[in-house]
Every structure is written in structure tokens, then in C-alpha cells.
């Protein structure tokens, strides 16, 4: 018998015949979390992600690229990693180079440019799939066009979020979108810049991931 068979045999010998009833997670959320208006959800989201040290800018469809430019300029950043072939990536590719910001794209496997990614990529722009008001959380589903390391390695991560995609809770997000039918290679919740309190409980930002998280909140009055 293999280790697997021995472990399973031991567990099967003692497993209860009748498992308890399936816990009703939905009814807990229905009684303990209210469903808020879009404006309230946006406010709550913003409150909590700002508490976690993220910077939020209210933007509109017409002006978000201007805000993006100002955000970069204020930090003296002249190079931005964007996702070519996505609407927001292409907008940035059109809008930024004429204003003196060089845009690089993630057009090959990381193995071919790991060192450049780690040492010469000061900032990145990605979209968020959705967000969660309860905890001030961005939901990212990285994909071929917008790979996983884009939201992790560059010291400044800028995220475009459509305010109409804010859910009340994590539970609501995963049930409304039926995540149980299939998840991507990697799904992420991001609730602020990277941080640690491992030295004498003193909070420090930029432990391993982005030092700054900047949210461009699309549609909130701007």
C-alpha cells in the first residue's frame, strides 16, 4: 500500500457515517452584511483601501489617462509597464509616450527578461476585474495579456477599477460570478501595498511587492 492508501484507509475507518448538514454561508451574509448602494460601496471601498495605505483617485473615462500621467510625473517615473491589447493598456500606449513616459509591454515569457522586470521596471498599470467594499479589496485575475508578475514586481502598481464592479463582500463576488465553476491559473485579492510588521510590530510598506498601490477609480464622480 502507498502512503496515500494508508492515510485514506486510516481516515475512512474513523470518518463519521453521517456528515453534519452543509453550513449555510449565504444566510450568514444575508443577515450580517447589508447590500449597499453603488455610491456607498465605492465610499466603503475607498475608506478601507486608503486605511491600508493605498492612494485613490476618482477619475472619469475621459480623464483617467491624464491622472495616470500626473501620478507618474509626481513621482518622477518615466517608464510604465502596460498590457498591450487590453483597452486600458492601449489607451496608455497612445496617451503616455507623447507626454514623455516610455511604455514597455509584457510581450514575452518572463524568463527572457526577468532581470529587466526586477531592476528596470519602476511602475505598472493593470485593470482590476472587480473589488470588494467590505474590506477595500481589489480582485485581479491575471491572464496572458496581463500576467501575474505585473501586479507584484514593479515598486509602484497602478490599478484601474470601474466603480460599477464593486461587490459588497468577497462572498457576493464569488457567488455572483460563479467562481466555483472554474478559477483561472491565479486569482488574487489585493488590499493595499505590500507590508510587514515583523520587526517589533512596526508597520513598514514595500516588503517584497509594490511599495505603492494607486487606484484609479473610474466612474466615481470626477
Amino acid at each position: 500500500m502507498s502512503a496515500r492508501d494508508r492515510i485514506l484507509a486510516r481516515l475512512n475507518r474513523s470518518a463519521p457515517q453521517q456528515p453534519p448538514a452543509l453550513p449555510d454561508v449565504g444566510s450568514w451574509y444575508a443577515t450580517h452584511r447589508s447590500s449597499e448602494t453603488p455610491a456607498d460601496k465605492a465610499r466603503r471601498f475607498r475608506h478601507y483601501i486608503e486605511l491600508a495605505h493605498a492612494e485613490v483617485h476618482a477619475v472619469s473615462r475621459n480623464n483617467w489617462a491624464d491622472t495616470l500621467h500626473q501620478v507618474l510625473k509626481a513621482r518622477g517615473i518615466d517608464r510604465l509597464l502596460v498590457a498591450e491589447g487590453t483597452p486600458h493598456g492601449d489607451t496608455a500606449l497612445d496617451a503616455l509616450p507623447p507626454r514623455g513616459i516610455e511604455c514597455s509591454v509584457y510581450d514575452m515569457a518572463i524568463e527572457a527578461w526577468k532581470s529587466e522586470m526586477f531592476t528596470a521596471t519602476p511602475a505598472s498599470l493593470t485593470a482590476a476585474r472587480a473589488a470588494i467594499a467590505e474590506t477595500g479589496t481589489l480582485i485581479l485575475w491575471p491572464n496572458e495579456k496581463e500576467p501575474r508578475l505585473m501586479s507584484l514586481v514593479p515598486p509602484v502598481h497602478i490599478v484601474l477599477l470601474d466603480a460599477s464592479n464593486i461587490y459588497n463582500t468577497f462572498f457576493e463576488a464569488m457567488t455572483a460570478e460563479a467562481w466555483n465553476n472554474g478559477l483561472p491559473t491565479n486569482a488574487l485579492l489585493v488590499s493595499g501595498p505590500s507590508k510587514t510588521a515583523d520587526i517589533q510590530q512596526t508597520l513598514a510598506y514595500g516588503a517584497h511587492g509594490p511599495k505603492e498601490l494607486i487606484v484609479l477609480l473610474l466612474g466615481e464622480k470626477a
Partner: protein, 478 residues
């Protein structure tokens, strides 16, 4: 990278190690301050007692439901992970787990591994096994990196370097990291760690991580963290190896949000961690990053022993938040290292006996005043005090056939048993009780005036010259 191999010690020497910490005012201050900080952060996250109680009830129900179906769910998890392209391995013992992991690493001809925080990898002492095989195993969680650099072990499951002051860490970095000047500025220290480790994330061929929840229905591994090192370890290297205990499984994805909320709020008083990382497959064709291979090692190491007993099974409800440690008056005074086990504090006292046997851990079960704080704050309502009493009885009762646990009866003493049997006899028989109390009142002066630790700050214990029953008799006469 260490000068000498540092193993977790079996529980012998527990008293001596505890005394050393109690006698060290600096360490005591460190722990007291850190625990007060964590307790107040947690309390601030649960302002509504009704919400807390109902969420704990839900968390308990979810864990018990999933444990009841554990063997089926493990098979479903395996099937769905395999379908997603993740390779599943099973290990009964730490040695088997190490052999599996080293086998994968050596199969790739790799020599460099970066590790995200994983208590199960501490449990199997993977770093030593890797070192012995000539593989660099570098901790990348800042706290773990610090304790590894100091050639120590984590003293807390959530905050591994909680016993160290920033000045100690400053000296450590100055001495151990090439080219680093002394600074006790925390931001500067974190930057030093960041720079060292970022290079390692680029170079390592292998990334290792733990798992907070494994979701059976989707075949997903979930990781909770704040620093981003967990994401680095699971994304940058070509191979990702995850290791977890067999109990960390949930059937449904919807079981995750309540447990995640209980975990982060109970552990560090955060409404959510900075990152929640859900991994369901290796890199797919066309994807430009992520590991080409993902492995999951499922470790038993005594968990199936706990599972076999209905009461002891509750031990496996644990989601490793560490709240029981933060609220434990014993842990706060003796710190994590004194226990000599991977998992210290109340949870360590109930889980370690299954991993190491009661023969090595009998003393740990007695290191509790049974004040009940651990059970009261446990987010999944593990009855820790009841389990401690049960383990004491397993450890100190006379050895018998078919014990529920390895090492049952290890702490048994015929003399102590005889004394307690005598005590019980006296209290069952009124005549005997009267006789013994009469003797006590006559010969109390024979009690020694030095009575061990008791008399260091107190008067010696002596039976009263006149018994209560005699005093009452006199008063009623008057």
C-alpha cells in the same frame, strides 16, 4: 547557511527553558508588549459580540463539516488538482515529505529554493534536510528570514521574530549581511531584506509555500500573506512546491470567505490580509509567467491519529491564526521557544502530542492554568481547555491496551496515582475523613516550614489547630 544544525527539541528541558525566559526581563517585556498589541488589534476587529459569536459558530460548523468528509474531500481535491495539472504527493511522516520535496528539487538539478512562510515546512524541518542535500533553502518572509539569519527558530506561528528587538535585528543584519551598516531604522532594515531577497526571487529555481485553505471543488490552493513574498515564491521560480497538513481542506469555495475573515481578524487584527492568493494550475500555454510545474505535498504526521477520536478530532479544526497564543498567560510569560516544539502555545500543546507522541510532550499538557482564554478566542471554537484535560488524562493515566494516542501513559507514576487514590478514598468515607482531619489538627506542627516554591513568598501551609467542624460545634453551643 547555519553554522550548526538546530533541531526542534523534544519537550524535555521545558521547565528549565521556561525559567530562563521568566528570569529575563527583556524577553518578558517583548512578549508582553507584543501580545498586548495583538490582543487589542483583534478586539478592535470584533466590536459586535453577536457578530463575532455567530461568525465563530459558522467557522466551527464549516470546519466540522469538512473534517467529517475529510477522506472523500482529499480524494476530490486530488482529482481536481490533477485535472488542473497540479501534481499531488502524500506523506505519512516528515521524512517521507522531505524525501518527496528533495526528490522534486534534485529531479530538476536545482540548488536554490526560496520559501514563503510555511509552518508545515518547519514541522518537517525541511531546511535541515535541504541543507544536508546541498540545497540552499532561504526563508523569504521577513520574520522567518530574520530568525534563519540568527540561526534560530520562529517563536510565534504568525510573527516568527516577535522575540527580537529592532536593535538585535540591526546588529544581526550588520554582522550577517555583507556590506550593511548598522541601522535600527525599521524601514531601512526592511529595505535591506527586500534587496537581498529580490535577487533570490530572480535566481531561485524552486519556490516553496504552505497552504491556508485547499478547495476541493475547484482544485485551488489559497495563501494568505501581507508581504508579497508568498506571491513571489509561487510565481517567479519555475517550480512551485506547496506543502500542507491533510486537514486544511474545504469542500466549497464559499467556505473560504468566512474562514479568511476569522483568520486575519483573529491573527493580526486586519480586516483582510494584503494578499489572498488563489492558485489553481501551473502556467498554461500562452501565459508568460508563473511556474511550469506545481506540486502539492499532503502530510499526515499524526493528524490521522487525532482524527480517529471524536473529541481529539476537534484539534484539526485549527486554521493557525495564533490567537490562542496571543491570549495565553503562559505563552506571554515563557515565549515560543520554551515549548521546544514547532507549534508553541495552546494550539501547540494540543497538536504536538499527535506529531511527537505523548512521551515527548506530556509535560506540555500541564503548562496551563486552564483559564480558558484560548478556547474563548478560538475563531473555530476548538475546546482547547477540554482537550488539554483529555491529553493530561491520556498522558498520566496508567498505560492500557488500545490507547487513543502514541505515548499514552508516558507520564504515569505509580506513587502519584497511589496518593490520589488515597485522597479519593478519604473523601469518599466520612469516618475516614473525620479521622484524617483530626490527625491533621493534632499534628499540623509537623509540616515542614520550607515547602518548595510555595514558601519563597508565602507562609507555610499548615492544617488549622482546630477544625472547622469543631469551631462550628463550639459556636453552636455558645
Amino acid at each position: 547557511m547555519s553554522e550548526h544544525t538546530l533541531h526542534f527539541k523534544p519537550a524535555e528541558g521545558f521547565r528549565a527553558r521556561s525559567k530562563a525566559v521568566v528570569d529575563n526581563p527583556f524577553l518578558r517585556q517583548s512578549f508582553r508588549g507584543a501580545m498586548d498589541f495583538l490582543m487589542s488589534k483583534r478586539a478592535a476587529q470584533f466590536p459586535d459580540p453577536e457578530e463575532l459569536e455567530s461568525l465563530r459558530n459558522l467557522g466551527e460548523a464549516i470546519r466540522q463539516y469538512n473534517l467529517a468528509k475529510l477522506p472523500d474531500l482529499l480524494e476530490r481535491l486530488e482529482a481536481n488538482l490533477t485535472r488542473n495539472g497540479i501534481k499531488v504527493h502524500w506523506a505519512e511522516t516528515p521524512d517521507e515529505a522531505n524525501a518527496i520535496i528533495l526528490g522534486i528539487i534534485q529531479g530538476h538539478g536545482a540548488t536554490r529554493m526560496v520559501k514563503g512562510k510555511s509552518m508545515v515546512s518547519e514541522e518537517i524541518e525541511l531546511n535541515h534536510a535541504a541543507e544536508a542535500a546541498g540545497i540552499e533553502a532561504l526563508e523569504s518572509d521577513m520574520g522567518e528570514y530574520i530568525v534563519q539569519l540568527a540561526n534560530e527558530k520562529p517563536s510565534h506561528i504568525i510573527m516568527p521574530a516577535i522575540h527580537k528587538t529592532k536593535e538585535e535585528i540591526a546588529r544581526l543584519f550588520h554582522e550577517k549581511v555583507p556590506g550593511v551598516d548598522y541601522t535600527d531604522n525599521v524601514d531601512a532594515l526592511i529595505q535591506i531584506g527586500r534587496n537581498v531577497l529580490r535577487r533570490k526571487f530572480q535566481e531561485a529555481e524552486i519556490g516553496l509555500s504552505g497552504v491556508n485553505f485547499a478547495v476541493a471543488e475547484t482544485g485551488t490552493l489559497c495563501l494568505v500573506e501581507n508581504e508579497g513574498n508568498g506571491r513571489m515564491c509561487t510565481t517567479a521560480p519555475a517550480v512551485h512546491i506547496a506543502i500542507t497538513g491533510i486537514e486544511k481542506i474545504v469542500e466549497k469555495l464559499e467556505h473560504v470567505p468566512p474562514l479568511l475573515s476569522l483568520l486575519t481578524r483573529s491573527a493580526t487584527g486586519q480586516n483582510i490580509s494584503t494578499y489572498f492568493n488563489m492558485i489553481s494550475s501551473p502556467r498554461k500555454p500562452g501565459e508568460k509567467d508563473g511556474p511550469e510545474e506545481v506540486h502539492l505535498v499532503l502530510l499526515d504526521n499524526g493528524r490521522s491519529q487525532a482524527y480517529a477520536d471524536e473529541q481529539l478530532r476537534k484539534t484539526l479544526q485549527c486554521i493557525r491564526c495564533g490567537a490562542c497564543m496571543n491570549h495565553c498567560p503562559v505563552y506571554t510569560r515563557i515565549g515560543g521557544h520554551a515549548y521546544g516544539t514547532t507549534y508553541p502555545g495552546p494550539i501547540g500543546k494540543i497538536v504536538s502530542p499527535h506529531m511527537l507522541g505523548l512521551d515527548a510532550t506530556a509535560g506540555l499538557t500541564t503548562a496551563s492554568s486552564l483559564c480558558g482564554a484560548c478556547g474563548e478566542v478560538c475563531p473555530v471554537k476548538i475546546p482547547i481547555p477540554d482537550l488539554l484535560i483529555r491529553l493530561r488524562s491520556e498522558a498520566f493515566s496508567a498505560p492500557h491496551a488500545n490507547p487513543a494516542m502514541r505515548g499514552q501513559g508516558a507520564g504515569h507514576s505509580s506513587l502519584i496515582s497511589a496518593i490520589w487514590r488515597g485522597w479519593a478514598l478519604v473523601y469518599r468515607s466520612p469516618a475516614l475523613y473525620r479521622a484524617v482531619s483530626w490527625l491533621g489538627s493534632r499534628f499540623g506542627w509537623l509540616m515542614p516550614s520550607r515547602q518548595g516554591a510555595w514558601t519563597t513568598v508565602r507562609e507555610p501551609l499548615r492544617p488549622a489547630p482546630k477544625r472547622l467542624r469543631d469551631q462550628l460545634k463550639e459556636r453552636n453551643k455558645a
